[in-house]
Symmetry: C2
Subunit: 111 residues, 2 copies
DNA sequence: CGGTTAATTAGCTAGTCGGTAAAGTATGCC
DNA sequence: GGCATACTTTACCGACTAGCTAATTAACCG
């Protein structure tokens, strides 16, 4: 996968286990074992997923006694959402049913 | 990569070439050669990228004479954006700086 | 200290990804 | 038909990914 920030973030989101982990973290911080509990995969596999999420800046990790609590860091999702925002008009209106010429024309009118 | 729709869409977006192709298609339909022109990669590589985008439902392809014009289909981005929407509060407010207890408490108040 | 719990690292396998070159398919046009 | 244009498919390659088991590190507890 490419190394630019957006690619890393989208790449991190392209896995249901990682999205589920983020979902869990939306309810508050959790330890690695707590995060692993719902899944049928081993702890090392979870550890790898967490590293991917950390590289994407989607989680941060503390140190508390023998636990390493994870916490959600949603900031990178702002950039991802903003990137998608460019296309919002194409799914919120019926513009995507029109041909290019007409679309260009209408864009010029400020709608 | 997993096969659920959201994973396939995020996976398709996790590559800068594919995102650039979508960017080009936002200006209107284009043929494969037109899409390939800005890049330093071979046509087969572009063809593969297009197949990934098509599998994600992000483009559709027609047939006009000997050309196979591609057109943007932004609909899948709606689901992707909606998924991220769950986390909007975490980057639009300072909630993500507070601890879980406080966040839970404030959520109960409706903001 | 020794043992337990928490989590990461190392090393392996199988499969996917992004790219290539070369061959194949489809259509248009003389 | 025959040739050119526009892609696509096939076969291959090196790098990366997701999973495993086994071993290691780190911190607490008695």
């Amino acid at each position: 996968m490419a190394t630019d920030q957006l690619s890393v973030v989208f790449g991190a989101l392209a896995d249901p286990t990682r999205r589920a982990i983020l979902g869990r973290l939306a309810d508050g911080p959790a330890t690695v074992n707590e995060l692993a509990e719902p899944f049928d995969i081993t702890l090392p596999a979870i550890s790898k997923h967490l590293k991917v999420l950390e590289r994407a800046g989607l989680i941060s990790r503390g140190r508390e006694k023998q636990w390493r609590p994870c916490r959600l860091e949603a900031e990178p999702l702002r950039a991802a959402t903003e990137w998608m925002g460019r296309y919002r008009q194409f799914w919120e209106s019926s513009f995507d049913k029109l041909d290019d010429h007409l679309r260009t024309l209408m864009k010029g009118t400020g709608q």
